[in-house]
Symmetry: C2
Subunit: 242 residues, 2 copies
């Protein structure tokens, strides 16, 4: 049974992240709807970097300081005081190329801060739009991995788990996986992978975004593999394309 | 969309239980391997009651006081200082009929205490051996439901989630369910329900119990629907068969 493969665990909610040892691990921050999809979109379209922050006031102050764009959402809509939100479709090359995006979101940026507080060795962000880049990086690094699902206000959500399952299904032979969360993630992904878009209306978060805000195109982008295939790596306060 | 059906939520770990409002809800404590299977077994075989306690010393003291049987486990084996463990097969009618079982376990009894601390309206315990009794009770009560998975030291485990899925698949038309945890539970259950026993070796907890302690017969019992079909209801410190 013994082998030298690094371990891979899945944390289904930020409230469970403390159960895993992050100190020697690459932590993948997963917030499919929509923070980590938006981060992939912005960097893929040429943003210089994305700076994740936890408060709207900080986003505004910092964006002025770096001549960047302050953006973010609270409860699914553009946060009060900001002009730009958390939609991956807002950040076209014409708009974002060469600029800095200062982003604050309900769940993803909070989880990233938790990974920092828990001394993660390395932090990257992942979603379907950059699935291959994430998988390639994890295999290349050959370190322990924790797939960190951002969920919704500490509640489990299935879209983040589906992305974890997509990663596991691609790279599992490179890791030691002994974790029911990862087992569930992979099983769930295998059940619906043939038509993620058709499955989407089953997700609670789909209704939050589509019924209230009409964001069906956002959903499609966020569930399309490799549409913005870049690897966002966190370094000294910034997410930079590798 | 509006209806008058009560809500049903699934909490995938004790570390997530605080996210749900238990005050008007029936909380189902689920610890398939093995506490809530053992509770069903003991009560089905005629135990007068089961008293769940959080510490071994309390179990010993209380069992002397009520002339009962002190039992329990820590990390999967009989706890130091106790003669009886957490195996549903230990509690035959010949042994347990008319007697009081004072039980302490790693996960199940802790979760039950959390439900009490969070002012649950009603607490019952469930596992495959008493699946029908649980479902019948929840439909009859017609109150909000929280299915509380005990997990393993706050980590998610799949066997508790599968039981939640079994309950949901049977009674979902009686409830308003808008919860990705419940969606995952039902999907996972539907994927493996045709042969739960064949699926069991995929579970991390299976290896903890079978590889280390040879408890394959315990596993079979714990995953057999309605083999001890009784409804354990918590009242004033005791679980009593309804």
């Amino acid at each position: 049974m013994a082998n030298n493969k690094p371990t891979l665990y899945t944390s289904l909610s930020p409230a469970l992240l403390h159960l895993y040892d992050l100190r020697n691990a690459v932590v993948v921050i997963i917030d499919v709807f929509r923070a980590t999809s938006t981060i992939a979109s912005a960097l893929h379209n040429g943003a210089q970097c994305v700076i994740p922050v936890d408060e709207v006031a900080k986003a505004i102050a910092l964006s002025k300081h770096v001549n960047g764009i302050a953006a973010g959402e609270r409860d699914g809509k553009i946060a009060d005081g900001l002009e730009h939100g958390n939609s991956p479709l807002e950040y076209s090359p014409e708009f974002i190329k060469g600029r800095t995006l200062v982003l604050t979101t309900t769940n993803g940026t909070k989880l990233l801060q938790m990974a920092l507080d828990n001394e993660a060795d390395t932090i990257i962000t992942g979603s379907f739009p950059n699935l291959s880049a994430v998988c390639d990086y994890l295999v290349k690094e050959n370190k322990n991995v924790v797939l960190g699902c951002a969920g919704w206000k500490d509640r489990y959500n299935l879209e983040d788990t589906l992305f974890a399952g997509a990663v596991i299904s691609r790279i599992k032979e490179h890791f030691t996986i002994h974790c029911d969360s990862s087992l569930t993630a992979e099983m769930q992904y295998n059940t619906v992978k043939d038509d993620l878009h058709a499955f989407a209306p089953n997700l609670t978060h789909y209704h939050r975004l589509v019924d209230r805000f009409g964001l069906i195109e956002d959903i499609r982008f966020c569930m399309t593999p490799d549409i913005a295939n870049v690897l966002p790596l966190y370094k000294e306060g910034m997410l930079l394309a590798q």
